[in-house]
């Protein structure tokens, strides 16, 4: 590798020049702009609320998170709703990935029946509104299949919905691994399953991670639609609270950020995972 060394030695990297940045391009001006803009938005909201005589009652909010009665901690409806949303998200993700993987493998398989089944599922789910699907699951499939738990009906419905998107991501990821990898793997004697497991998926998963994160975030966001069918998740609890207290501004201002915390934590986690997986590239 002496040829390579010679060229890197010969050309010393040029010293990085200190650039003079115009004040309107500098970082502190960015921050000032951001603060001004946020201030403006808050002021508009506050003025709007004032002009319609909205009475802010933030002080009433904490007891909807938790209460301490006789030294015992009792979670309020917002936290209970958050737990249900988390439960939907956790089971939903597992099922989404399983359904997605099975559908992707069916679509890539040589079985005609499998491919048709996967395609019919995919097209019917992707091309109908989620709200219609939730209604079909809740009002039609739930009584037919005898599921007497709206939470699980909801989880299944969401998993089938997001699973269709996940399967396309998985299929694209698998297809993007070069054909030569299959050939090399089978020529050293690995079976189809082992080739998937040790050669194809390890290369495909890092490619799938960014779009898959989007699908899983959609799963969390779409769980709010289950408030339509008596699943007591975060949005349902919020709507019930507003019905009781009429504090619609405060409640939605709190519930929005609660979803944000969930989705941003998830994408941060996946981002970290992605950097770990890609370390050796």
């Amino acid at each position: 590798m002496s040829a390579v060394d010679a060229t890197t030695d010969g050309l010393a990297a040029p010293k990085r020049l200190k650039r003079r940045v115009a004040w309107w391009k500098s970082a502190w001006f960015d921050v000032v702009q951001f603060v001004l803009l946020s201030g403006l938005l808050i002021w508009i909201t506050w003025r709007g609320a004032a002009s319609m005589d909205y009475r802010w009652q933030w002080y009433r909010l904490p007891r909807y998170f938790y209460r301490v009665i006789d030294g015992e901690l009792i979670w309020g409806p917002l936290i209970n709703g958050l737990f249900v949303t988390l439960e939907i998200a956790a089971w939903g993700m597992v099922l989404t990935l399983i359904i997605g993987l099975i559908t992707a493998i069916l679509r890539l398989s040589e079985s005609v029946g499998g491919r048709v089944l996967a395609k019919v599922y995919l097209e019917s789910i992707r091309n109908t509104p989620l709200l219609v699907q939730v209604s079909i699951f809740y009002f039609v499939l739930q009584p037919i299949l005898g599921i007497n738990n709206p939470l699980w009906t909801g989880i299944l419905c969401l998993a089938f919905f997001e699973g269709s998107f996940a399967s396309e991501i998985i299929r694209a990821g698998i297809n993007s691994v070069h054909r030569g990898q299959w050939e090399a793997s089978t020529s050293i004697g690995l079976s189809k399953t082992k080739t998937y497991l040790y050669v194809i998926l390890p290369q495909a998963i890092p490619l799938m991670l960014p779009p898959m994160t989007g699908t899983l975030i959609n799963l969390i966001k779409h769980s709010a639609i289950l408030s339509f069918v008596a699943v007591f998740e975060l949005t349902t609890e919020a709507r019930n609270m507003i019905g009781d207290t009429f504090m619609s501004f405060e409640v939605w201002f709190v519930v929005g950020p609660m979803y944000l915390v969930l989705t941003i934590s998830l994408s941060t986690l996946v981002g970290w995972l992605e950097r770990r997986v890609r370390r050796h590239r």
């Binding site: 590798m1 070069h178 030569g180 990898q181 050939e183 090399a184 793997s185 089978t186 020529s187 050293i188 004697g189 690995l190 079976s191 082992k194 040790y198 050669v199 390890p202 290369q203 050796h280 590239r281």
Partner: protein, 251 residues
């Protein structure tokens, strides 16, 4: 399973044909390769050289004719396909190393996952073959950190780790920079000296003269000429072979 039936043939192709759509890539090809024999296949691009050797380990499926490798008949039985692949190693033009695995892991994957050999033993085996291709010091690196020549040598070691009886080379030096071709050919010559049965698709005529027991010239899916290197280079019989040789040997 009927193993060697008296004669010394390792690979036997009888009337093998293969179509890609309407294009006939192989046309009634007959070929016998004896144990320990080194065969070099050359010919213009699109003549079916690669297709021919890819049929031997079922990377391509032949549509008619018969392929027998070490007494095992190649048919749709997955057991037979697996048995044949276990005996046939292959080296590709584009190396096809596993980019997510280190050099050592590239070499141990087959023995560990296809053969069920333990990690320690597989690593010992891998290091042995990495030494044979002269790059044991690269064992911990990833394929992307190696030069093309080094990558191709790792690919050869990876195949050898499955202790095959036959090695197929599909234009192993065509994707390499000129100064790296020699290091790969040297390894292949050393391998030939161990008595390995080899079929090489290559245009490296110097290599062919050194190691080949038999030269094969293909055109339009057919074997046009098969001869010893001495006859092949000094006294080619067909006009097509003469033209091809004059074109690749003229400069």
């Amino acid at each position: 399973m009927a193993r060697n039936t008296g004669d010394n043939a390792m690979i036997r192709l009888e009337g093998v044909s293969k179509w890609f759509g309407n294009f006939r890539a192989l046309c009634d090809v007959d070929l016998t390769v004896d144990q320990g024999e080194r065969v070099v296949i050359c010919g213009p691009s699109g003549s079916g050289k690669s297709t021919l050797i890819r049929c031997i380990n079922r990377l391509e499926e032949h549509e008619s004719g018969r392929i027998v490798v070490d007494g095992i008949v190649m048919d749709d039985d997955t057991k037979h396909i697996a048995d044949i692949r276990a005996e046939v190693g292959m080296v590709f033009q584009q190396f096809n190393l596993f980019p997510h695995l280190s050099v050592l892991e590239n070499c141990t994957l087959g023995p560990m996952k296809a053969r069920g050999i333990g990690r320690a033993e597989a690593q010992k085996l891998a290091m042995e073959y990495l030494e044979k291709v002269h790059i044991p010091e690269q064992a911990g690196k990833f394929p992307s950190q190696l030069s093309g020549g080094q990558q191709q040598r790792v690919a050869i070691a990876r195949s050898l780790c499955m202790t095959p009886k036959v090695m197929l080379f599909d234009e192993p030096t065509s994707a390499l920079d000129p100064e790296m071709i020699k290091e790969v050919l040297d390894v292949m010559i050393e391998l030939a000296e161990t008595g390995m049965t080899m079929i090489c698709v290559t245009h490296e005529m110097g290599f062919a003269k050194t190691v080949a027991d038999k030269m094969i010239f293909m055109d339009a899916g057919q074997i046009v000429e098969a001869a010893t290197p001495a006859d092949f280079f000094s006294n080619p019989k067909s006009e097509r072979t003469k033209l091809f040789l004059s074109q690749i040997l003229s400069h």
